[in-house]
Point group: C2
Chain length 333, copies 2
Amino acid sequence: MRDVAEAAGVSLKTVSRVVNDEPGVKGDLRDRVLSAVEKLDYRHNLVASNLRRSDARTGVIGVLVQDLANSFSSSLLRALEDAMRPHKVMIVAASLDETTLREQHMVENLISRRVDGLVLVPASARQDYLAPEVRSGFPVVFADRAPRGIETDSVVIDHALGGFMAVDHLLANGHRRIAIIADSSTITTASERVRGVRAAFTKYGLEVPEDLVRVGERTEEGARAAVHELRSLPDPPTAIFAGRNTIAQGAVRALSQRGERERVALVGFDDFPMSDLLGLTVIRQDVSRLGALVGERLLARIQGDTSPPSQQVLPPALIARGSGEIPPPRVAG
Amino acid sequence: MRDVAEAAGVSLKTVSRVVNDEPGVKGDLRDRVLSAVEKLDYRHNLVASNLRRSDARTGVIGVLVQDLANSFSSSLLRALEDAMRPHKVMIVAASLDETTLREQHMVENLISRRVDGLVLVPASARQDYLAPEVRSGFPVVFADRAPRGIETDSVVIDHALGGFMAVDHLLANGHRRIAIIADSSTITTASERVRGVRAAFTKYGLEVPEDLVRVGERTEEGARAAVHELRSLPDPPTAIFAGRNTIAQGAVRALSQRGERERVALVGFDDFPMSDLLGLTVIRQDVSRLGALVGERLLARIQGDTSPPSQQVLPPALIARGSGEIPPPRVAG
DNA sequence: GCCCTCGGTGACAACGTTGTCAGGGGAGTT
DNA sequence: AACTCCCCTGACAACGTTGTCACCGAGGGC
């Protein structure tokens, strides 16, 4: 910028005015500056600009999700991007892979970078470490999973209700031997879903078939192996509840391999692209809506909203596509 | 930081030393500083730090893809993230939606933010506007699509070869009435793929059935409509080449609706999750490898590699899963 | 006892920008 | 003709940090 000022024969401040489209620079001077900018390939330095400016907006938010390659995460990211674009806010994104430690490192790093706000799909069980920031009014919105240990905005799906709906659906269709495959119980969404599942059994006055509960599966491979194992039991499940999208995908694969896709009922949690073509019955979370609401909340906070933390809960929906409507085999009444 | 220095009764510089883990601060002083940091909830400001530091690394790269929610883009992003994480580089990502204007705005913005480098899946036909940056040695790597108008690193798939392989496969299986549904020809990858398709016809000494060529489709809905229309022709196609993942998805939907999935051959470009379960034959691009190579190249440039621009071309692979192996109906020899 | 060395600490300027305020000159008013 | 007002422009400090260099005191060698 100094060079530009020199080349145009004006002061630094005048260049600054031209670059920022501030009023009050006469035509010829402005032209001289612009042509100097052109000639020297000058690029405005937003880093320095943000440092100096009093309001201190960087125009960047941090978004920490589970896995950028996962359809849930990427849809959320896209929805957030769309919500932020009109406000000229960009997104720094990272995958946490359910790692508590990485979550803390990333949060720390993003705060050091002075992002304007944070969207968090937490991997950790508790987020007390964020307390100082939240207290100081730093905008943080939790998505999909509620915060623990701090009070801040969140927009979550009613995971327990989703789990309930899925298994209620299977029980209503006559299934009793229902396998439950879910992620590690340290992940609150997973344990919430399982809680809902248990509530569904309770509603029918039934015991949960504990021998068919597989908690701690995350990967598609693990889920596939679990289904093979479960179906090989002496008294195998006639229906399966898959606690998240990768598990459902693994389950479909396993049942395909066994040629049992028409025989064993399956309800998944999380919709994903093309699941309709697989005829998969799922509990759908409206990810676009989730992202839009999170974005809206974050923007409000960034713009100075100081109302008490809000907890928004979105209902999931059961999408029947066939796999969940397979009846149990008629053996004994 | 000033407050911390005051609270600890030391100079600014000493605080700086402690925060940056520099050697040469005695035990008790260091402790005094750390406790002052704790008490005041001081957070190191990386923005100012980066401004002052001479080497001027921000530890952020920009990644501009087509659509963050698309499985191709999100897989690429994830691969890049994995390549960058060991080097403590974060990612600012944005969707271009094939908009030339947004591409330029975003690039400009990212450069203003002084990102250390840029990964571009370009939407524009030419990228001359980047010439000044490239000339000055700013690290830019093109992914999936080669640059036009500038010389810089790129890692691309051989799209023409992929198109050729797909249609060669169909022709070898006896199809002649092959529909070509592809994205707008202004997108170089799309036109490259179509070029390969035409080469395949030429190899067999055949004319391209121009009445079955639909160029300019991008969305799943458009592709679905196109398939319905094509299959309603008096002399309908017996096979379909779908020029990208969303088109293949639309085609599968359309054929499903018409109950013709077992009757019409289909080869898609771009693999996507669960396509194996749909029995879809595709041309697969190794996105993880692509992302890893792009990340490697970008890191080398950031670390000062000044060798001439490299052009890496990855071969695609045909994954036969059934849909592409459906023979043409036996009507007349 | 003097000088030198060296580890620890601090004062100051600088990174690239913008907010503040003062000054200069032309046009309009009395 | 003198004065006022307003529009442009520039000088300067400041944002939060770190590189540079100087200083101070203790310890060791002669």
